[in-house]
Symmetry: C2
């Protein structure tokens, strides 16, 4: 990463001058937080204003720090979520300039279908047309889907939104980006094979959906023996589903369960512990239940999983919980 | 605890009806959170409205959960902080009816001075006159101090405010209440002997100030070798010291240190970790640095301790950091 270019310091300084910003708040996701002090210093070297870093955990553009009365919030590393229409925020996306072609070439060996959907996160959206050309030169048919109002770019997925993947009719997907977090989501959302191509580690993998589903059904079964349910309502800007949570709690109560609703900013094992429910339902970020499952002592379910417990959804119709404006 | 009486359910239901509350938020400190679901249910049995429990950690009346647009917030277990003048909040203090006299009798054996200051937390403020009479019947001279605008009751201390103790000229103090958290604060704030009288465990103790001060000076010494300081600004309602934090960061920078400011809601080791400073200065709750010292890898100092590092305060003039309206 080039601190000056990739974090758009010149543009931020321009915004500060134009908008006569006196207090500037900078927010970085966990993986970029360590650059915060240097970015703040570079900005202060140019404009002598108050620059505050957000120290709260941050895992997405859904999670905007509005706790201080800063004139401008610069949120790094995520694309804007169009449906949130956040005001007073500039999203510095921190695009990666890593060459994705070597890992796309490696991925060819694992492709078994003919019709391929190409997906990525915001760091690599500018590479998708080149990836498409490369795959098409091998005789494959490629699709880059247009998602809903939760995502800004064609082919872009979020941990909670795979609308661009579901928008295309393909045999399998290739995901360009680090880790397997997004690729696992595509697989759970579409039920299709996903090749995760990590250009940083130059590593190919295929997410193990079966073991995740096995774990989910184990937790659903455990929750079926529960008598007290705690339904969580997230308070982060883009994670609030007050009505869904209220409805789920009311339906549970109507079926004779004890059910209560808890508002919460950061869903962690130690914040839930004191409520001592038999099982929890998280209407905030859907990925906490799935990706942090092993950290929670009591079952933490998604809303769609809880619908199975309530008998509202067929046990064979597993559906990933998504934040979707469709 | 009597759920119905001690949590003032009748009065809360009356408030809900009077104010035509549609969404009610309940907030409990950690030690009382487990009663939340039952209190919520009792209220809902009487009035059919939305009742939300706060799932965020809560450690004082400084820490009001205003994340949801509830019509009324009921905050349990703490007295209002007058200087905050919080609107739309009802403070249900959850007074204790434990008999404090047996532990006061036990404490007599440890009293060595003639002039005794009596202090407590909100749970026992209604017992102080009786405690005074008991001690005076033994020939002691007693004082119950009036604190500043941070505290509501005569003789009441907070973890961050010992103004009622400093207001009286005495030889030593007796603290009525559980644990040693408040008693340690009185000792650090006044430099005098404090007898902590816990009526629940019927246990007497004298906080070990020397070992705490030894630890504090060790951390101050370690911070003197630091080159990068992270100054924390709390975002909880009653913990915001923006100007103090900005001044400390600017003074550090003027002395050639790297210094940056971070806004944060909950100060924990894992939220600070990513900033990788050599030392941290916490302008939020003063007790985190002292009581959670062993959890943090890098020194976490109070503002007064940081003044020692900056050479602004004599190393022999240790002062507890307090939130005070004096």
């Amino acid at each position: 990463l080039n601190l000056y270019e990739d974090f758009e310091i010149e543009h931020i300084v321009k915004l500060v001058r134009e908008k006569e910003v006196r207090v500037l708040q900078l927010q970085f996701p966990e993986g970029l937080k360590r650059y915060g002090p240097q970015v703040a210093k570079r900005i202060k070297d140019d404009v002598n204003i108050s620059v505050l870093l957000s120290g709260n955990p941050c895992y997405g553009a859904c999670d905007l720090d509005r706790e201080t009365a800063a004139d401008l919030l610069v949120h790094f590393g995520h694309a804007e979520i169009p449906e949130l229409a956040a005001r007073g925020v500039y999203f510095a996306e921190v695009r990666s300039d890593v060459d994705v072609m070597p890992i796309v070439d490696d991925a060819l060996a694992l492709i078994s279908g003919r019709r391929i959907g190409i997906v990525t996160n915001v760091q690599h959206v500018h590479t998708l047309n080149a990836v498409r050309r490369r795959l098409e030169s091998e005789g494959l048919t490629c699709s880059i889907g247009v998602g809903d109002q939760r995502v800004k770019y064609k082919g872009q997925v979020l941990g909670c939104n795979f609308s661009c993947a579901r928008a295309v009719d393909v045999d399998e997907y290739i995901y360009i980006g680090n880790g397997t977090f997004h690729a696992l989501g595509v697989a759970l959302a579409t039920g299709k094979k996903v090749i995760a191509a990590d250009p940083f580690l130059r590593k190919i993998s295929v997410p193990d959906v079966e073991s995740i589903l096995k774990q989910r059904y184990g937790l659903i079964a455990k929750a079926m023996a529960a008598s007290t349910f705690c339904v969580l309502i997230g308070t982060k800007a883009g994670q609030q589903r007050f009505n869904l949570a209220t409805e789920l709690a009311e339906e549970a109560a109507a079926r004779g369960y004890n059910a209560f609703t808890v508002t919460i900013n950061d869903v962690t094992p130690w914040t839930l512990y004191n409520f001592a429910a038999d099982a929890y339902v998280n209407t905030a970020c859907p990925r906490i239940a799935i990706d942090d499952a092993s950290l929670f002592k009591a079952p933490l379910l998604t809303p769609t999983e809880f619908e199975m417990v309530l008998g509202k959804r067929d046990l064979n119709a597993y559906a990933l919980d998504e934040f979707s404006s469709c």
